[in-house]
Symmetry: C2
Subunit: 186 residues, 2 copies
């Protein structure tokens, strides 16, 4: 896909009930590996959760899109993600994780796959499931084939970034325009 089409990517929270092949999972993680990273230290590690019982256990400890609950809260067996990728690191590594997950999400979109980057989960429960005390989960990425089609709207500096659902159940995601966030310091 052309890069500009990938740039139109959106977060997906409702998924088809269909497994993502392993070579696609590897394609996503490869994109994360190629992302920018401070001093090239590459502190992130990835754990792939795809056995249904374990996916379900993870799923129960994740939270989605508070502003449009319950219509964008996936349901197990109907719209839940078939795979989670846990992004793990000894130290928080937030900026590196941001770059890696953005790269992963764009790669997914390039192959018709949607992601939901989840920062809102119960860390004690999730880390207990992975028995990964030395390498805690910093973020989860839900991965699957999209069962919704969110759209971007552009807003000015005074616009509200609060996302919302319209009458036809389409999620609208307001994003600031370039002018709203840019100052030229000449």
């Amino acid at each position: 896909m052309e890069f500009d089409a990938v740039l139109q990517r959106r977060t997906i929270r409702l998924f088809q009930q269909k497994m993502v092949p392993d070579d696609e999972i590897r394609y996503l993680i490869n994109a994360a590996c190629l992302a920018s990273c401070g001093a090239n230290r590459q502190p992130l590690r990835y754990r792939v959760i795809r056995r249904p019982e374990l996916v379900k256990a993870f799923f129960e400890h994740t939270r989605y899109a508070a502003l449009v609950h319950p219509r964008r809260t996936p349901q197990w067996g109907i719209s839940a993600p078939p795979v989670f990728i846990a992004v793990c690191a000894k130290n928080p590594s937030a900026v590196d994780a941001g770059a890696a997950i953005q790269s992963m999400e764009m790669a997914a979109w390039n192959h018709g796959i949607g992601c939901c980057w989840i920062g809102s989960f119960d860390p004690a429960e999730v880390n207990a499931l992975l028995r990964a005390d030395d390498l805690p989960v910093r973020y989860l990425v839900a991965v699957g084939y999209p069962a919704e089609g969110p759209v971007v709207e552009r807003i000015g500096a005074d616009g509200s970034p609060a996302y919302y659902l319209d009458d036809s159940d389409t999620l609208h995601v307001p994003k600031y325009s370039v002018d709203a966030v840019t100052t030229y310091w000449d």
Copy 2:
């Protein structure tokens, strides 16, 4: 450009002495605006520094690639970036900044432009230059047309991520392979 070609992007530290047009700067910031962001809050603001005296003042407070100093430390008037984009936010917003800058870097590469994401700068000096106490600079992104061609190498779990220059002055950037960083938790 196809997405997979953009994925081959690398950090650029040596630049041609040629201005980047304003519409390209806007294209980069638009890509940042479209990146993933926690709860869609969009806390980041961008300041574009392109007046040569001010670029020079910023440049003097930035540091580059300690492992390959001085050969990948750009020189003013020879290989320094023509533009900086300052990524600013009231709160640290590291994970959002990581996603936005990754998106910006990939968009740049799609248009033949290179970036160096700089976390190593003197914040007191840089913030004083921008007189931006209420919206501090979190990261700087140097932007310009590439005057070098770094290459990726893939390494296993025991490999060293330390980048290095070879005899022909090409920068080699080791990146872990998918197998080196992935565990299947089945």
